[in-house]
Amino acid sequence: MKDAVRIQSDDFSQDEEILALKASSRRMGGIATFVGCARDFSEGRDVAEISFDAYGSMAVSEMKQLRSDAIAKFGLLDARIVHRICTVTAGDNIVFIAAGAEHRVAALEACRWMIDELKLRVPIWKKEVTPQGEAWVVPHP
């Protein structure tokens, strides 16, 4: 089975990830997921493609820590985080978060918390290629 936390170039399968998540417990009643994907338009500009840079070793260790923190904070049965580092175009998947818990509230809250925290903690940067040139994305507060 694939690691619960990964950085990879290839796309991921939600079915495969959910199956792996479920394998951890037969008490899981709720699974919340978030998929972030590439848009063809951002901040008023067309976007042809998005590429990434990452501090790979730190990004993976931060994602592992984030997963453990979420499991402890929300009493999850399991959680998974996958981030692609490659060049993507509109519609392509970028990030996958899954939280599994006995009941839905914990799963839903943990999923939201994980994607919010990932954006704050994990050293990955996004560059948009537009008809006007390339630009690193400046996140809003």
């Binding site: 730190m58 260790s61 931060e62 970028i94 050293p123």
Partner: protein, 79 residues
């Protein structure tokens, strides 16, 4: 020797993704930052996170050990 790493938008402003700085006794993260910021002011305008050996560091008074890996990072935009 301190190994300094840069990523993404910072690389673009520094012109390279790594450099080495000689180690001095009692050197702090703040001193290293200030020294580099003098040479690369545009890059350091966007630096807002610091890591030593792959761990987030918030206190710039942290003394650096020889052979540390130090990273000066812009705001993350992953996810």
């Amino acid at each position: 020797m301190i190994k300094v790493l840069f990523f993404g938008p910072v690389v673009e402003r520094i012109g390279k993704n790594a450099l080495e700085v000689g180690y001095r006794d009692d050197m702090t993260l703040q001193e290293l930052r200030d020294e580099l910021a003098l040479h690369y002011p545009l890059a350091f305008e966007i630096v807002c996170f610091f890591a030593v050996n792959g761990q987030h560091v918030r206190d710039l008074a942290l003394p650096l050990a020889d052979n540390s890996e130090v990273t000066f990072m812009a705001k993350f935009s992953g996810g």
